[in-house]
């Protein structure tokens, strides 16, 4: 089926199989491999992208659902050479270890800050509650998000 959508401010028109997951569309069709697959079952958050301003697990979204919608992936965070503040703060706080959860964490955090630029600690925790990090760098991740929000 033919669908139209926007990814990282770029307009696409594409013929896709209706059962294709958004995750595969991004990774395989658009070669945006920054979005990661940790479980494929909606349980880890490593595939998180922003759809219409909301953080979603792209492994649970099917291609037809993005028709007419706007998606932001981790590749869309930095503006050419200028990093997003969140990316900078993640680096400063050593909140990136193996890095596999990082894109998903960043997108959950970004969705929060887009809606709520000055969240409380509790709001930050809620926003990334669905994102797993086995390196368990949660406290540094929370600190990085808080720092980005306060800046």
């Amino acid at each position: 089926m033919l669908i139209e959508f926007k990814v990282n401010a770029k307009q696409y028109k594409m013929d896709v199989c209706p059962t294709m997951r958004l995750l595969d569309l991004l990774r395989e069709e658009l070669r945006l491999t920054g979005t990661k697959e940790g479980c494929g079952e909606g349980e880890c958050g490593s595939c998180t992208v922003i759809m219409e301003g909301k953080a979603v697990n792209s492994c649970l979204v099917l291609a037809p659902q993005i028709c007419g919608k706007e998606i932001i992936t981790v590749e869309g965070l930095a503006d050419d050479r200028e990093l997003d503040l969140l990316q900078q703060k993640f680096m400063e706080h050593s909140a990136v270890e193996c890095g596999f959860c990082t894109p998903g964490m960043l997108m959950s955090a970004k969705a929060l800050l887009m809606k709520n630029p000055h969240p409380t600690d509790e709001e930050i925790r809620t926003a990334i509650a669905g994102n797993l990090c086995r390196c368990a760098g949660y406290s540094k991740i929370v600190a990085a998000i808080k720092d980005a929000a306060d800046a």
């Binding site: 491999t33 990136v96 760098g137």
Partner: protein
Amino acid sequence: MEYKYIGKPLPRPDAISKATGKAIYLDDIRIPGMLYAAILSPEYAHAKIINIDTSSAEKMPGVVKVVTGKDCCIRYGDNIADQTPMAVDKVRYAGEPVAAVVAETLEQANAAVEKIKVEYEPLLVYTDAREAMKEDAVLIHEHQEEYKRLPTLKCIPDTNVANYYRLIKGKGEEGFEEADVVVEGEFNYPIGSAAAMEPHGSIVWFKEDQSIECWSSSVCPFIIRQELAHTFDMPVSEVRVHIPEIGGSFGYKSDITVEITIAWIASFVPGRPVKWVATRREDFTSTLSGHGIRTFMKLGAKKNGKLVAIKSKILHSGGAFAETPVNVTITATHNSGGPYEYEHCFMEGYTVYTNTTPVGAFRGYGHPESQFATERLMDMLARKLDMDPFKFREVNYLREGSIVASGEKMWKTNGDVQAAAKKIQEAIFDGDKPEEDEDYYYGRGFAALSKAPKGATFSTKGCYMKMNIDGSVSINMGGAEQGQGLRTVVKQVAAEALQIPPEKIHCYTEIDTQFSPYEWQTIGSMFTVQGGRAVIRAANKLIAILKKTASQVLKADEDMLDYNGEYVYLRNDPSIKVAVKDLARGYITSDGITIGEIAQASADARLPRYSNPDPETGQGTLGVEYTFGAQGAQIRVEKKTGKVIVDHFASSFDIGRVINPLQARGTVLGGVLMGIGAALHEELIYDEQGHQKNPHYGRYRIPKMRDIPPKSTVDFIENPGAVGPYGARGIGEHPFLAVVPAILNAIYDATGIDFYEIPITPEKMKQALADRKENA
């Protein structure tokens, strides 16, 4: 001594590519002409294969090849060659590859693999070592005595015992005759999963030029290279292995695991690269698990609190193949004494075949499992002796001059466990604990730990270092970055050794066996120690080359020259000097004639005199590089729900020298949280048929953000070690080691209940509280 770059919170060089989504992990790699594999797992965990019908699968769209293990005579493994790339004639665990489909797309491969029909004749299933060791048990490997194994390993023929290891120190078991007080218990550390966020996977390509190229999410490229070459009978030089970024390992991506299976599949489609990436479920069922260790332990002490004897028996449910668990068992056994000295030791370790996913390395490699028993029993013994548990331990800590079970003598350079214990005592036990109230019981617990590495005796880490024409330096090593931050360590150690700022030192990114120096594998918290030593050795060689060239330029003897990172200069007149960058590719004199060698060096580092165990006593220089530490927990048990809440967790380690405080602290917090997961909710559960009941994050619950203790204390002690750079020791596994006994000791303090098995889920806690009431 003042360091310029050591001990500083340098940021990770790889953070930027990871935070922008540009870092390339295994599944991000796509090669022209690449095919995809889907693998069939068996219906039974133990069964004979009667027939495999692949005809319908072959007819499915996009299918290029269907592969089985028929006629496969490959047996591989470094320790015990008991593994096959695919099941041949029988299956031994429910995650074992039985057949595979190679297709143009992954969807096509997945669709076709379901069409493969297999007939089985089921056999009895054993998911626990105790069952598999019964006298009349069916053999999981019928002729294990025929497998090639290291001369130090011994199986018990006609049983499911793949290896038996024994260590005796002093009078062994008879040592208990000297004891006034004895405690004993049986402790179980169940099977778990490292469950790294990135599932394991590989790409293998049999190329037209008769070489093999492989990419894997693995920490052992050189072992893969060697095994592929050996298995497919070609020179090692014709196999090239790449390691991209790794999304976490914690041990289970070490040793060769999925690679030979993917190679076997790819060998049927020469010319085309074949990719396989585990689904989350397959990552649980078909890569490597962890733990699965039951420890029977007995400790004996004099009335004055002096330990005299230990007896331990380790039963390891190692899974269907013993290649990967065998060394975990051995390490669990000879380190089962923890950080204490005993005059008499009798320790036995059984690696037992079971119909479960093979166990491999998982953060601590046998130490957390057996020292769980030690640290719980130390508390129980203190109670029986009516001694303060800290004082009791103090009498017995390993210290300078002590002899550990393996017969090794401890030196000052091995560190100070008592100093670490003191820190925990101050952090957790100062003042009174909260009084029991309507909702909660409160408790505090302590545990000490010791960790020795386990590697091959030849295990080494190489370093290639070259100076560029502007005086900057490029470093290439074989160590696998898996999130632990070794690239930062390389930069800091090299900066210090070369007196060059880290900005001018470039650390390698991916590993490629065609270019990277040899490293055995990146395990055992040993990169900082061995890799860092290799960096220093290479730096010293490089500086010597610079001085040699400079001696010609400055017309002075080499030993009269000094080096400061920028210049080589005459010691007694620093104005006589030559810039390092002018020496980097030899020195070009005024008439163009060039003298001297290019400034480049290679080096490697092993643990000094690291040995195999003696076949009779089981002793030897089996550790060399010990690290000590202590951990403590302050907890609450919710009466209504049985939930255990960790309010404050404290850790202290003598890591010799802190290279990067930011990273070291991060590693500790991460390891502690993983330990809390093990103590309170992680367990990979098998049903009686040998199928995993919870192979997904939904029910294999790894810690989430909400599980972080509200308060964390991390403290490092710095008694420099003898091997590592600037005295540094490893810290990767250690923060995980004593979390379980610290929490369980705290639970006893809170409730008076002794647990011998983890995880302590709210249900189990509630049950135990109810039972306690009944018996009261």
